[in-house]
Symmetry: C2
Subunit: 304 residues, 2 copies
């Protein structure tokens, strides 16, 4: 496989790049024109490794797609944000069938374009046959409104309601490695509508990738507050135990805090109030009936 | 190794981030404020794999440093460009000493900061112990002047002079894997001074990573011109055979085309005229005394 030729053939498929791509892939850098009055650029990077984030020997297209979707989910989690572009670096084990590499890049390229984040750069490197296939994606985004706040993890305030989109649990079948985590809809449109609808009443937001409890913990720590999570209120995927579901991860739903009224549904996605922000010490308190348990590294610990 | 904690500790070293980083690493995305009147963003991505781009078991700091330097060299190759930020995704084989991972990230973080491209995001993923350690870096940049052209590969014109900075060859010791390729100075300042000095007389530019002959071939093909490369004029590293040197790669010098007078030295770096752009078919013609040879995939082929 000639790395240079392969990537050029991938990029040659980009017949419908937006006009904002003023210098397409193939030069030392690519260039994009920014919308007028853009004064902030957002960036995040996230990898997908075969055998860890996707099943070994599975469809390489799904691997490329997941790598883009995970990154779009990060854009969603800023609420006041719109994807701009993506770049992808792939590590390809020696001896990999070239058709498989092509499928990986088509999954990347088509998914990126579908989310208005055209693939404008990257590279492929052939690594030892014993190495895992992997792809590292960087996503760029711009705020919808550069004068308004981003929904950061640090923005939760005491007395905010705590909300989650969709339902939690069941994204990953531990037996097969398959499931929704391979082809989900990042909650970008819901996040943008929440930003437009709530404005400055929308405070902290995160996408649920590590598991609901742990991700709420990130908000609690970053904002130096406590989050009371009422287990009975969490919308749980059918057939799942609530405690398993909130520890599971890869849901790619949004968890957020806001003050005042919040719509029960936006863009066809349910939004459920699952708790409240209280003053405290950067932890999540699981409220399960009359029991209160505090999150620890090892799990949950009964509190008086 | 807890991936999340390690990266947070790396980012906690970022005590001197520029004020333009308005949302530092640690959220779903990082944010940077752009300079006034910035209407274009540039991006490139490039990977470094241990055992391929750096010696196996070598200093991990040097690996992180090289990953940043390679990307800064891509910014240099646009001439009208200034680094803005970097993101890095590392694949870490299971069982790697945590101190080694720390060295990798310190090489990334410190080098990025030194080149005004602060590390604002990324992730670490633990992969199988048999996988190679690797790091994929994305670099963002902005034009020095958004109303002026970038020095693209497509911009060479017939009758341009062809130039190279510094000297070619000897960047990589094939026996030890060591050499200048592990700690070079990307020609960013030279490129920026060329842009300021030559203005629109500066046409095409590329950084010499694949080897001078091959990289000039990229310009020739992209610009649909022929480049006559005069072997005797190429400044060759001491002790190197010219034909080996121009095929060697990893020089991270700049090759460019321009019309009119070009300074013989800028920022302490020699600039040498090595050829001329002629009308033609996207190839490099090696002029070696009275012989003319055309570049092919397999090497050089005598032409009448």
């Amino acid at each position: 496989m000639r790395e240079f030729d392969l990537l050029n053939r991938v990029f040659a498929q980009n017949t419908s790049l937006p006009a904002s791509v003023t210098l397409p892939p193939g030069d030392d850098m690519a260039a994009m024109r920014l919308a007028l009055h853009t004064s902030t650029i957002l960036a995040a990077a996230d990898s997908v490794v075969e055998g860890r984030h996707t099943p070994l020997g599975g469809d390489a297209y799904a691997m490329g797609r997941k790598a883009i979707l995970r990154n779009v989910s990060d854009v969603a989690a800023m609420a006041n944000a719109q994807p701009l572009a993506t770049l992808a670096c792939a590590m390809i084990p020696a001896g990999t069938d070239e058709a498989r590499v092509w499928r990986l890049f088509e999954g990347l390229r088509e998914t990126a374009l579908a989310w208005n984040a055209p693939l404008i750069g990257g590279d492929t490197t052939v690594v030892g046959a014993e190495s895992a296939m992997s792809v590292a994606v960087t996503i760029l985004a711009t705020p919808l409104d550069c004068n308004a706040a981003l929904a950061t993890r640090t923005a939760a305030r005491v007395d905010d309601g705590v909300y989650v989109t969709g339902s939690i649990g069941g994204a990953w079948d531990r037996a097969t490695g398959l499931g929704r985590h391979l082809d989900f809809t990042p909650r970008l449109r819901v996040a943008q509508e929440l930003f437009r609808t709530l404005g400055s009443r929308l405070h902290a937001m995160i996408d649920v990738s590590d598991g609901l409890a742990q991700d709420l913990g990130h908000i609690a720590r970053s904002s130096s507050v406590t989050i009371d999570l009422e287990l009975a209120r969490v919308p749980i995927a059918s057939g799942w135990n609530p405690r398993d579901a909130i520890a599971h991860g890869e849901d790619y739903e949004l968890a957020f805090t806001a003050v005042g009224e919040v719509p029960a549904m936006l863009e066809g996605v349910a939004i459920t109030r699952i708790g409240v922000v209280t003053s405290g010490e950067g932890v999540v308190i699981l409220v399960d009936g009359a029991h209160r348990e505090r999150s620890t590294n090892a799990g949950w610990e009964h509190v008086a």
